[in-house]
Symmetry: C3
Amino acid sequence: MNEKSFNIALCVNEVRAKRPLVHHLTNYVTVNDCANITLGIGGSPIMADDPREAADITGIASSLVINMGTLNERTVPSMILAGKAANEKGIPVIFDPVGAGASAYRNETAAQILDEVSISVLRGNISEIRYIAGLSASTKGVDAAEDDHTGLDETGQMAKRLAAKLDCTVAITGAVDVVSDGQRVICIENGHPMLSNLTGTGCMCSSLMGAYCGAAPGRILEAVTAALLSMGIAGEMAYEAAGSIGNGSFRVALLDTISHMSDQILAERGRFYEA
Amino acid sequence: MNEKSFNIALCVNEVRAKRPLVHHLTNYVTVNDCANITLGIGGSPIMADDPREAADITGIASSLVINMGTLNERTVPSMILAGKAANEKGIPVIFDPVGAGASAYRNETAAQILDEVSISVLRGNISEIRYIAGLSASTKGVDAAEDDHTGLDETGQMAKRLAAKLDCTVAITGAVDVVSDGQRVICIENGHPMLSNLTGTGCMCSSLMGAYCGAAPGRILEAVTAALLSMGIAGEMAYEAAGSIGNGSFRVALLDTISHMSDQILAERGRFYEA
Amino acid sequence: MNEKSFNIALCVNEVRAKRPLVHHLTNYVTVNDCANITLGIGGSPIMADDPREAADITGIASSLVINMGTLNERTVPSMILAGKAANEKGIPVIFDPVGAGASAYRNETAAQILDEVSISVLRGNISEIRYIAGLSASTKGVDAAEDDHTGLDETGQMAKRLAAKLDCTVAITGAVDVVSDGQRVICIENGHPMLSNLTGTGCMCSSLMGAYCGAAPGRILEAVTAALLSMGIAGEMAYEAAGSIGNGSFRVALLDTISHMSDQILAERGRFYEA
């Protein structure tokens, strides 16, 4: 890894210094954790999902997170309106296609968003991203299906092709996270299995991307990598703090760890490489 | 209690082995805790409440939880669509008539659901169940009214009659939980008063029933009893762990305890008898 | 401070004794914490935001909290219907104009509520209250803008004028909270900076006001002061308990501390004076 060309060391400092306002169009299941993790990393969260104000609020934001976790006839138009406003303003759009492949409505909504909004980042699990890529995908609701896990090489190539096709950065989260901007492929090894026993860790990861990209809109690949490192390291440190006590304590420890994430911790504990 | 005919000893293992997908049409107040308790007991939660996908998502689920905590014109039709899809697929439907008796809209919705959907389990507090049973009921919002508590014998007989009438299993939660499938009446003595100082413990209990019934759809009475034992024991153990610190710590400890619930703990700490 | 005319010493006891039902029309981001803090202080929360039942539920409540955190075409009419029902019944209405100034829709909604509903309490940060008062206000989403902080004297006079104009009690929360009923001005010095690193502490404060005002509807100024003291002291004690661990632990400790708030703690730790 060429450290000069891929310097993520200043990212947390930048978030905490700039305090980017991250507009979320997200689901009602994990929204509170998304708000608190955004605050924890140094951003400022706002959630406004009515078509009457979705574009207005995007107009004062530094980034936009569109999360498909719970959809309805009111919020889908808001996602499009906010997405277009973000494009017009030139701020990053993070798209989290939760449960893509699980229902016709989710599939149509994902297609509509990708058609009408220019996204900066696409983040999902392997099943969701395979579905978006037009590959065969199993699904088990909002979790990745076992069958969809293929080798890291194949996943990296898929991410690269999809990123080039969509002209964005693609992040596939899993035991090893894989990120590509269409040219480079980064693998992040941090993380902990407990993260899959807590609801919303994917959503929270997208919120972190909203905060990092809002602070560093000109360096999306670095920002996305820093978000994934933050989440992975926080998962490890939360497990070290809360042990295997359960997902109640793990959630608390995860938010605590993000509150104290620093460039030093990212540098010391981050395990990533360019594939 | 005839242990041969009423074996709940294997239930947690079955949930953790089968990882049932539990579709929730539930309220936005306690939904996050419902998701985390479902994960904690070994299930996989999904929430999709738009009529465009409620039936589709039910189609990939192992059970359906319909919780009336917050209702609106969009989610009530989704409850009916999802309920019918669940009936067609033959998966268990758990109905939690939160606040039945508190408004005309809740009353009409409860009647419509019971009319159009075949439910497997009805779970509520004494005021809600008395309302559903057509008995005089006081109500104080979503909590049971003092006046509605009658003796255990009377409650058991009421549960039995209502279960026979609705052709389902009826669970009335309170200081002592009472369950009946219309033939047998089971009383569960586990629990702790702190459970009523935390929002959503009733909702979480219904989610646990979704997970257990999703894993053991052919043994609903056992599954419902195991869910009630799990919640009651978790309440006791959470109090032992967090003491009387407050409802913040109690919530964390409750989720932690559910994450470690085991057949052994159920067998050792469960206090229930056939009335 | 004349203790005879301004006795807040019995307030927590009254909440715990009367267990007021607090109806919330609030946002989906922080609603769970609002419910748990209402339970923690001794009230009983209920959330019902459909126009079909908003007035019915208000009819069984002791107070109404209208929180603009997330608005939509369904909930705004519910806020008006519930507000009018509360006025008819004569129970206190607490209005929290979250994000007023941040979008045309929020501004119009705030104006409509103030036009059609008689409110008892208006609670917001300095930016929101300045917007409502028709003064120039900056805004950064749902947080107060730095530019809007003026001296305490000026803030107190503004609160007093606005309270007289709206015929209600105005509470401006910040490093020092300022309350006025149009005649007197009370300053509350309790609080901790960590409160702004946790989402929903403003909303939770409004919920506490709902509980206190529901228990003591004839003494709104005292009830609002007690709510602000409770939140401020809880912030201090939560920090003492959880230290700077992070916003996960701080949230838990905050709810725990509210669960144990007592008239004695309010008397011993409360730092407030009449300006």
